[in-house]
Amino acid sequence: MTRFWTRVVVVLTVLTGLNYIAWRWAASLNWDAWWIALPLVVAETYSLIDVMLFGMTVWKLKIRAGAPQPPHDATVDVFITTYNEDLDMVLTTALAAQKIRHPHSTWILDDGARPELQALAEQHGLGYVTRSGDWTKELPRHAKAGNLNNALMVTHGEFLLILDADQIPEPDILEKTLGYFNNRRVALVQTPQYFSNVPASDPLGSQAPLFYGPIQQGKDGWNAAFFCGSNAILRREALMQLGLVGYVKETGKSIRRALAASRAAIRQARKSADVESPLVAEVLDEVEAATREAQEEVDAGRPLSEVTYRVRRRVDAAVQTLVEADVAALQADLEEIAAMELAHVGESGVPVVADGAVQRMSARDWSPLGALESVQAVLDALTVERSNEAQPVMPLATISVTEDMATAMRMHAMGWESVYHHEILAYGLAPEDLKTMLTQRLRWAQGTIQVLLRENPLVQKGLKLGQRLMYFATMWTYLSGFAAVIYFAAPIIYLLLGILPVSSLSWDFFIRFIPFMVVNQLLFAVAGRGIPTWRGQQYSLALFPTWIKACTTAARNVWFGRPLGFAVTPKARQSGGPSWSLIRPQIVVSVLLAVAAVVGIMRLATGLAEPLGTLVNVFWVAFDLVVLSILVRAVLYKGYEPAAEPANREES
């Protein structure tokens, strides 16, 4: 029933929306003020696409009846990831995980490598994992993805339950979810993330009932429900396949790149005046022949490990010839010296350089070829060892700080299926202050934009059209910061300067705009089935500086290799008084809005402005101010006080 009415409202939203936007583009633009008219119509088009993608999501809303009985012999590792969280919190979660009923092993994955935590783990019979010695200082650590990838190498359960350090699981979390894996194609079961330290008014917008509800259920209908980092169960086989495919792809890419660069490198080495010796020229000839042969073999589809092994053997042999020649010349010099004055050379005659020494002098780190840096770089890249990573196989994607979404997308692209199980089975802790909350939102947004820019879902092979659009929909919502700026600017410009971005505010406008707005709000009400969605709508506009910063930093990171300025979300409340400086841009915008409203009303009173335009824009300003007002409550929020709230809010 819900689904039917949802679809009716989706159709109405799309029709009224297209009707409005088509008219806006075709007949309403005030070209005299194109500098605000165009941005506004682009922002409105952005919003319509956003709503249409939401409509598409809930079109296939999937309400699951529950998982079948799980196989008794399914083996499970429960991973609790931690970096710097409070030890009590980690232990509480770990002990709750230990009490999960289905047979399993519980592991604390301590990226902070804290001896106290190790002692606690041992004392309670919990597994404890830190990074292996392979993760040396100069290699990338990949944050949580690296922590999980490291643990995957030392454990062996068929399934993995992943929990953040604050997510206390219910004892039946596995019994309720493992059965989905009876379908051999299912690689992921995601359950909601729910926070137990949030008052009903949710001033920081911590709960995401729309996302862990209609949105994930809708994505589930398109087989595109995705991994959200915690409270999810993954199939190890799928992860390992992902790691192996990624390894082969990366290796192939770097070998092809190295072979492509080899010709230029050898030419450059030949040209350099430093290399005059005919022997060196011979070695370069040999390196060139070896890389040319390797290129042919790679093109013919021969295994990369064999190809690179053969290159290395040929080059090693050539280098050894070079070293032998050096040694022979040296030995001849010594003989000459000995012939001149025997006594000086030593009692036991001319020392002979042993074969072992020749071998050692030919090895990669001491090889004379190292002097030709460009050639050596090419040869170093012709390996299958992936020496720029701590472990060659990285099952969890490392292209983004939100490894979860990137990993899920790759799984879907390989044909795996996912499940969203809509039942709270773990209780976490949300940030209790604005600063921490902003850090967390920034990180999520940055990670999502990184995935968009590195592996744009619209062009990923293996994904179905619906899946592509489902991933794209989530990324699209994070562009809202730019639209928000325009929505704040347009009424200010009208009320201060009298410039209207539309050609006229007439019957034509209202007859198209109002039905669209009404049906749009109806869609959220019907699809959300009474879920509070207003907080989410407020924050999607009010946090515009965060969203914009996420886009710009992620773009700089992906395109120019700049650091993100990444910070782990602290789980403990940050101390200090209200920090208004965190929302300085929003305060400036609010003041401008208020001033604009006053000026607008004065202009109306003095006959400088017309009544309808002023009324609409003052109303618009009021709406913007109500949206932004949530930030005042957020700044003043003093953290959760359990006494004032009913402890159990499960029924909501």
Partner: protein, 110 residues
């Protein structure tokens, strides 16, 4: 790699700073040959800033030793760094080229 030399009372000190490898080895030979041709046949090669040496570099050192002996003098090395020391030991060339802690000590006893 950078070379420089300084004529002292009883010897000439050659400094070889950088990596003594296939590319720089012929230059060391040339440099030392020039120093010998300039009239100094007692040479100390100061390896204080030579972090690395390969087989060509070693060959060059022995070549320079030969040149110095042919000119009736000697060549000694000083302030040898760990990797160079390993190469000398491994090839038994430490028996031919004695390493002195500092350039000043190399010819102090004769």
């Amino acid at each position: 790699m950078e070379f420089s030399y300084e004529v002292k009372d009883t010897y000439a000190e050659v400094k070889a700073d950088g990596r003594l490898n296939m590319v720089s080895a012929p230059k060391l030979r040339e440099f030392v040959t020039d120093v010998i041709a300039g009239g100094s046949n007692r040479i100390v090669v100061n390896l204080e800033h030579t972090a690395f040496m390969d087989s060509s570099g070693l060959g060059a050192l022995i070549g320079c030793l030969k040149a110095a002996r042919q000119a009736g003098g000697d060549l000694r090395i000083a302030a040898v760094q760990p990797q160079v020391n390993m190469v000398l030991k491994l090839t038994s060339m430490d028996k031919v080229l004695t390493a002195y802690p500092t350039a000043g000590e190399a010819f102090s006893n004769d």
